[in-house]
């Protein structure tokens, strides 16, 4: 039982970070129907920026993290301007390919700047590394912090959507672009904000994962795990993305623990395909009804 809990809890802790990245993926879909395959690259971009600011430019850690988030947001806005604004209303295939190629370009750029396979480790770490012991369980303190930071960010985000004017505008745009425009809301500004928020969420995820394990380019493949998380939850649902992320994390924790290392790479996809066969729109996705 203790072993089960150990695997399950450490899986859930990582899953919260997947959920965070998946939320970033979902809010872009809700606003502009663009599927961002470059989410993983945005994630390592934020982590690399943070690492450089703190350890190369000697910023104090809190300022380094904030500056990295700011730069990531700026980068998200730039991406929205080119090439993704040109892609609104284009066929699905073009959208998928553009974000895939943005991801490739970014990967190339990051490899050129920070090097491909070498690990960049946060030393001293941002979060205290000593594990804590609760009963029979030994939990990494970093994972616990990561989990609660991720939960905190998602809660803040939902409060932002609920109580601020900008959040309200984003919800209206998610409902219908044209109605929003008729109501005097700048849809462009909303898209820009959406990309900025999505990039910040990815960067937070990246900094958390990076401070736990270190950063290298293949960490960007986390972005490809956030996608099944978002699909299982349903592409239009923010709580769905969080639940999907937790589920994928749980699954990875348990499959690594019980089946063996390496299974976690595909477990997410196998479960996703099974879920999609029975629930074609995930758990909370918007069902489109089509009849002939």
């Amino acid at each position: 039982m203790a072993i089960f809990l150990q695997h399950a809890i450490s899986g859930l802790m990582v899953g919260a970070i997947y959920g965070l990245v998946a939320v970033g993926f979902v809010i872009i879909i809700k606003a502009s129907e663009i599927f961002n395959f470059a989410q993983g690259e945005l994630l390592i971009l934020g982590a690399f920026l943070c690492w450089s600011l703190i350890f190369q430019f000697k910023f104090p850690p809190w300022l380094g993290v904030l500056a990295a988030l700011g730069l990531a947001a700026l980068f998200g806005m730039v991406l929205e301007r080119f090439p993704l604004r040109a892609m609104i209303g284009q066929p699905l295939f073009a959208i998928i390919m553009v974000t895939l190629t943005v991801g490739l370009c970014l990967r190339g750029l990051l490899t050129a700047i920070w090097g491909g396979m070498s690990w960049k480790v946060f030393k001293p770490p941002l979060l205290p590394p000593e594990p804590v012991v609760i009963g029979e369980l030994m939990l990494s303190q970093q994972h616990i912090y990561g989990f609660f930071i991720a939960v905190f960010v998602v809660v803040m985000l939902s409060l932002f959507f609920k109580y601020t004017r900008a959040g309200l505008a984003m919800r209206i745009v998610a409902e219908d672009n044209q109605v929003a425009q008729a109501m005097g809301i700048s849809v462009r500004r909303v898209f820009r904000n959406t990309w900025a928020i999505s990039a910040i969420l990815a960067a937070i995820g990246g900094i958390l994962l990076g401070s736990i394990n270190g950063i290298n380019i293949p960490l960007a493949n986390i972005g490809l795990k956030a996608i099944p998380a978002a699909l299982i939850g349903g592409l239009q649902s923010i709580p769905g993305a969080v639940i999907g992320g937790l589920l994928i994390g749980l699954l990875e924790g348990l499959s690594t623990g019980y089946i063996g290392h390496g299974v976690q790479e595909v477990a997410a996809y196998v479960v996703m395909i099974v879920v999609l066969i029975f629930l074609p729109h995930g758990f909370f996705g918007l069902e489109t009804i089509e009849r002939v």
């Binding site: 699905l92 295939f93 895939l100 190629t101 370009c105 190339g108 750029l109 050129a112 592409l235």
Partner: protein
């Protein structure tokens, strides 16, 4: 497409002809003769590039049928190429099948695996289906990696050279002919499929699947057929490529390769048989060029580091595909048509 001056379609047969005039035929025969004499003057590395192009053309034709004509986006095409390559290798190694039996069997098996991953298209479509094929990429490669007793796992697997009716095709120069002939046959096959009822049904499914079903086109049947044909050709390509390299490794069939296949399709032009060939040639030449230029640049500016070559390759090719998507979404094949029409009517403007 306007016809050249003075050419009229007087019979149905003439209307359907791919090559309408004697100069079309002359160009075609000239091109074949050119392909046939290339090995007499090309260097070995050029021949290698050409064989790779021929194999890739076959795979991209398959992807074009599936994605370009039928509209079912596949982000896992290189996994199906891997299925073909490994099946063919295992059939030849373990059961000592001759190449000419193993090749079609491997292709059919790849097609059947394609059906397995295409089956969700009954229920899901669009982005959800694209991610299912992305899942296929990870799952297939995972399965190959975890069956080390027959696939070699992460180690390389040796493949015997093909033995066609007593001729051992071992050298690159003789393999060049095999690969080219297969590429030409597949091009002919795909071009004709797209002109028959099946091809028109694919296009109808792509453009509006509900309307297509309303007109009596069996959606599921045609989607499955597209998956089967697309993955069949992927398997064929994998089989030919495996017997050419004589050793295969899981590293050759990554997600990145799947993305390059899609990129070739975009650069060439979706839903155009000629486009697939243009796209493959363009991206392959670009890749060679980047691989030639990158060492020069990194030698000139040593501070860029050792990984600069790989980084530059990713960046340049990603950027090229992105620019094509934004500025020339119909691809090189469309540009080619425009240029051809200009010359056809020269010196008149229309």
């Amino acid at each position: 497409m306007p016809l050249p001056s003075g050419i009229y379609n007087v019979t149905y047969k003439k209307d359907m002809a791919i090559f309408r005039t004697w100069d079309h035929w002359a160009w075609l025969i000239g091109f074949f003769i050119f392909l046939a004499v290339i090995p007499t003057f090309a260097t070995r590395s050029q021949i290698n590039t050409l064989i790779t192009i021929a194999c890739t053309v076959i795979a991209v034709h398959g992807l074009n049928l599936l994605t370009g004509f039928c509209g079912q986006i596949s982000i896992g095409h290189s996994a199906f190429v891997a299925v073909g390559a490994y099946t063919s290798a295992i059939l030849c190694n373990e059961l000592s099948f001759p190449f000419w039996i193993a090749m079609p069997l491997a292709s059919i098996f790849a097609g059947l695996v394609g059906l397995l991953f295409g089956a969700p298209s009954l229920r899901v479509k669009g982005f959800y289906l694209a991610i299912t094929t992305l899942g296929a990429q990870f799952i297939i490669i995972f399965v190959i990696m975890h069956l080390p007793s027959i696939t070699g796992g992460v180690r390389s697997l040796d493949v015997p050279p093909p033995n066609l009716f007593g001729f051992l095709i071992e050298t690159d120069y003789s393999y060049y002919y095999l690969a080219m002939v297969m590429a030409i046959l597949v091009t002919y096959f795909v071009k004709n499929i797209t002109r028959t009822g099946i091809g028109r049904a694919f296009v109808a499914v792509r453009d509006n699947d509900l309307a297509a079903e309303g007109m009596g086109i069996g959606l599921f049947y045609h989607k499955m057929l597209a998956f089967f044909l697309g993955c069949f050709l992927a398997g064929l390509s994998g089989s030919i490529y495996a017997h050419y390299l004589q050793t295969i490794n899981i590293e050759y069939f990554t997600l990145m390769d799947s993305v390059w296949y899609l990129g070739m399709l975009i650069v060439g032009g979706l839903g155009n048989t000629l486009g697939s060939i243009f796209g493959v040639i363009f991206i392959s030449v670009l890749r060679e060029a980047v691989m030639k230029i990158a060492p020069i640049v990194s030698k000139a500016i040593p501070s860029l580091g050792v990984e600069f070559g790989a980084a530059m390759g990713l960046f340049v090719m990603g950027l090229v595909i992105m620019l094509f998507l934004v500025y020339e979404p119909r691809g090189l094949a469309y540009r080619w048509e425009v240029i051809k029409n200009k010359f056809r009517l020269y010196p008149f403007p229309y």
